[in-house]
Symmetry: C2
Subunit: 269 residues, 2 copies
């Protein structure tokens, strides 16, 4: 089964388009957790246990784990073990390198850590992407139009009258021989999201930037889904995992997830 098929199946079974970004900063987890042997792992365990029936994916951002050194990688590995097979994992590392080196990254993310998919920065072109898309079961999300202010610096530059990010969308469509390539489009750009969905009606779109970054959920759902109300992966991180800084953080996360999932279901109609 290709990654895109697997995503559809999981979104159907879970009846959810929501992805939780496990971007855990040790300084931001609740005080009462800090005396635990591995506070970040215990934090992740409780978040995952409280939300796993309501989401289609978890997306750990590698930067947060790398910032904790070797122990951080072990925590990431152990976190991945806690995620049930009924939910997808996205290794958010935005890697890019020449083919020979990209193979090493793909090996690390897909074989060693066992991620189902990864985010990739497309700037270096086809041979930097191909090692990640070689296995149809593993997914690749290419950065197209990101949610941050800097997205205007290069991504929106006009190439023959079209913005650069559209060139990335067209390339991703062309490279998608294995039906396992998707795109990252920030929730802060809902008009562009609509246009991108028109170009790639059947590709997964990973959409971060809901919540803290200010993206509007309703327009993201209306513009980002495929014709069956699927293939949009709506990511929220800080608004969920830091919903409460108290002992009830996992319950608060679940409540926030539930609210979002219900909103998403309502907007899909």
């Amino acid at each position: 089964m290709t990654f895109t098929q697997k995503l559809k199946e999981i979104q159907t079974k879970q009846n959810s388009l929501l992805c939780i970004g496990l971007d855990v900063d040790p300084e931001k987890i609740p005080e009462h957790m800090k005396s635990r042997a591995n506070p970040v792992l215990e934090f992740n365990r409780q978040i995952i246990e409280a939300t796993q029936d309501l989401v289609c994916a978890y997306k750990p951002n590698l930067a947060f784990y790398e910032a904790m050194g070797e122990g951080g990688l072990t925590t990431l590995r152990e976190t991945l073990m806690l995620i049930p097979k009924s939910v997808l994992t996205i290794g958010d590392g935005k890697r890019s390198d020449i083919g020979n080196t990209a193979e090493q990254y793909a090996k690390s993310l897909f074989n060693d850590f066992g991620f189902d998919s990864a985010t990739i920065n497309p700037y270096m072109g086809f041979d930097s992407v191909e090692p990640f898309s070689r296995n149809p079961e593993k997914g690749v999300f290419l950065l197209a139009l990101t949610s941050n202010p800097g997205s205007k610096d290069f991504q929106r530059l006009k190439v023959k009258g079209k913005p650069l990010y559209e060139k990335v969308v067209q390339a991703a469509k062309k490279w998608n021989k294995n039906q396992n390539i998707g795109l990252v489009v920030g929730a802060t750009h809902s008009r562009e999201l609509k246009m991108i969905r028109k170009i790639v009606p059947d590709m997964p779109l990973l959409i971060p930037g809901i919540g803290k970054q200010g993206g509007d959920l309703k327009s993201v759902i209306r513009n980002g889904c495929d014709e069956n109300g699927q293939l949009a992966v709506i990511n929220a991180s800080r608004s969920i995992i830091y919903a409460s800084s108290g002992r009830n953080f996992a319950d608060a996360a679940r409540a926030e997830v539930k609210k979002m999932v219900e909103e998403i279901r309502a907007y899909k109609k």
Copy 2:
């Protein structure tokens, strides 16, 4: 002292523009090393000991260490300890992420591992670069025109008549308030290198792609140096570290380095 000043000083003291890419694949190291407790670390130790008086920098590519898991990060950390302060280190990870996350990567590379500089993918714009360039003593090399075949896919697209990579060069020049930003330009593009050096006469240029990838050393030196014959950092990896697969690999690496350094000195005249 800013990173750019430090690079100049080190290139003068070492009388060398050469950087060795420590991109060590455990499968490619000499057979007789494979029974060692940590073959990659021992391999790096011997390469560094044999070449440290002849180079201005070492550039480990993070992918190769990450592919070895947690132990790989420890090996990277221990490798960095073996590099004398008289030589710079470049953490080649080509990272890119939104500001909040880029800070985590910068913390990992500069504070935890202690790299002197890092390579960054510019596609996400200013806020993804700024956390790396905040400290003037730490250097940032932004990917402009990379050495691989995929560099044509996006980097050469025309924006108002100019290639995209030139927009990156112009942005890097504008963002270089702390005199610590440089650019990555592949040795396989010597004509473009000349044009880029004209736009940024006083910024460091990291130039990979000599050797295995086919870049021509003479034109790279003539086109990539500043007016004092400095600020080009010429990287070679596989042609040096795998110069021999026998017991003499470190001597063979030194001989290859010596040959390249002498060629570089000759071409500078």
